[in-house]
Amino acid sequence: MIDYWPLLGIALVVVGFALRFNPLLVVALAAIVTGLLGHMPFLKVLATLGHGFNESRYVTIIYIILPVIGLLERYGLQQRARALIAGIRGATTGRLLIVYLAFRQVLSALGLTSVAGHAQTVRPLVAPMALAAAEKQHGTIDEETAERVKAMAAATDNVGLFFGEDIFLAIASILLIQGSMASFGIQLTPFQLSVWAIPTAICAFIIHGTRLLLLDRRLGQHK
């Protein structure tokens, strides 16, 4: 008999996020409920949570970049990014983001995943450039459109990273696939796996690139 009770924690996360409670609160509560329903004593749950938090500090290190980005913004970096795009003839939001998508996919495929990212490139450069291009196409844009353009810049970074990185042989996910398969006696080389990431990478470029061109058409409409 499978014990389904620990799954209640997942339901709690879904409901909590949907009702827009503070996500930190939702996650902590879900962890405690799941642990208790999984027959762990409270102190054990607390210790597991604390250990997991302490072991994953590396994901929060990225914010040490903020002083540099903030300092450059104080001296007009975002304004400069906009001015640069405003001066390029034929620059559109869609074309700009397609170039960024290709750049992100190729670099990720070469294992250079941390060269770009939301803090490193999207906030200081790509998002203001995309906005400036949108204003060129459309004239002044309303807040809703500005949100959509900025969100699309972040989305393009994610799509480029996710569907580029697995082409690189030594990336964690390829090693995880190899290891999981090996534990069942199936031997695969990283090369065999990364080759099969290429069709998906091409599809991602076509699919997301098409969406970016459609965004251009919408932006170009009522000028």
């Binding site: 499978i2 620990p6 996360v13 827009r20 503070n22 930190l24 609160l25 962890a31 642990g35 027959h39 607390l46 210790a47 597991t48 949570l49 250990h51 997991g52 072991e55 994953s56 994901v59 929060t60 290190i61 990225i62 914010y63 040490i64 970049i65 903020l66 002083p67 540099v68 980005i69 903030g70 450059l72 104080r74 001296y75 007009g76 970096l77 304004q79 400069r80 294992g111 941390s114 060269v115 939301h118 803090a119 490193q120 999207v122 906030r123 450069l125 972040a154 989305a155 994610n158 996710f162 390829i174 696939i177 999981s180 398969m181 069942f184 990364s194 099969w196 069709p199 998906t200 599809c203």
Partner: protein
């Protein structure tokens, strides 16, 4: 050897400076909440390894209490306004991009140097930490470049960094909290339960339906865990290996690689993948915290269809 611990000391110092800056920010009505939040994070980075698991657990609950009680706020002070920034932008011109590019450039050159020269074997840098070490190095080089060229007040980087940090707020620690939740899920046996559930509803006789269940299983489980890495070992053990590879004779490399990529479609659609989906919304100061996910859903669904087609055709028909 330079390892993660060096970076933790640096990050702790940055967060401690944010805490001190917050405490002194008279324009923020909730300044003490901010100071406590970033201060606790500094403690975590500096002393996390000596606090013990339960001590860290209490620290986590304290962070959650501050965020949950809405004790975090934002200051309203600005260093330079939009007009001054336009002036600076004109005065410094495109050279302003150079310090911003120091960080990616350090990562790029550093990764190449580390991987393709004897540097790797010399043991200066812990290979596990090399990406973050290069980030830290890039930040330091970038700051030096800015100071030499722009001559800002000495505390300006910390003030400006804190301004951005406050706009991100509690979302900054959400990815770390979700990783901790993943640890509790694993300890409570959530993965095995989901695997058993998936295996129980497996359809027999139809390869296409099995492929569909495998891909959707990856997507849904990834959305729950916020991470395809947690979903993959469970789904490959429940469906991939026994059904698709052994019973139906599918190509193992395709099923492994494209199964993982199907999971990535789930990553694009879930707030649980906070560092990709929620933090950028905060970083770009978007009104809707789910705006990035909304922008990604059509791409993710089309990519899922493409992955299912690749799994079926390349896995079984080629």
């Amino acid at each position: 050897m330079i390892n993660l611990h060096w970076l933790y000391v640096l990050a702790g110092a940055v967060f401690a400076s944010f805490a001190i800056g917050s405490a002194r920010d008279a324009t923020n009505p909730k300044r003490l909440g901010n100071a406590a939040f970033w201060g606790l994070l500094a403690i975590s980075f500096w002393f996390g390894d000596s606090l013990g698991d339960i001590g860290n657990g209490i620290l986590v609950l304290a962070l959650v209490a501050i965020a949950g009680a809405h004790l975090l706020g934002r200051g309203s002070g600005v260093s330079t306004d939009a007009d001054e920034r336009e002036d600076f932008s004109r005065r410094y011109g495109n050279k302003l991009f150079l310090p911003a590019l120091v960080i990616p450039f350090t990562a790029f050159v550093g990764t190449l140097l580390f991987n393709y020269t004897p540097l790797k074997g010399m043991g200066f840098i812990d290979p596990k930490a090399v990406t973050l070490v290069l980030l830290g190095l890039g930040v330091i080089l970038g700051l030096i470049a800015c100071h030499v060229w722009l001559r800002p007040p000495l505390t300006a980087p910390l003030e400006e960094g804190r301004r951005l940090m406050d706009s991100i707020g509690w979302a900054a620690v959400l990815p770390q909290m979700l990783a901790a939740l993943g640890a509790v899920f694993a300890a409570a046996g959530v993965g095995t339960t989901i695997g058993a559930l998936a295996a129980a509803i497996i359809p027999h006789g139809s390869v296409f339906l099995a492929v569909l269940l495998y891909a959707f299983g990856m997507v849904i489980f990834t959305m729950i865990m916020g991470n395809a890495f947690a979903a993959f070992p469970v789904m490959i053990a429940a469906i991939g290996i026994p059904i698709l590879i052994h019973a139906d004779g599918g190509n193992a490399a395709v099923i492994g690689a494209v199964g993982m990529l199907s999971g990535f479609c789930g990553t694009l659609m879930t707030p649980m993948a906070a560092n990709f989906n929620i933090v950028p919304a905060a970083l770009l100061e978007l009104k809707n915290q789910y705006a990035v996910i909304r922008a990604q859903v059509p791409t993710a669904l089309a990519m899922l269809a493409a992955n299912i087609a690749i799994l079926y055709i390349a896995g079984f028909r080629l």
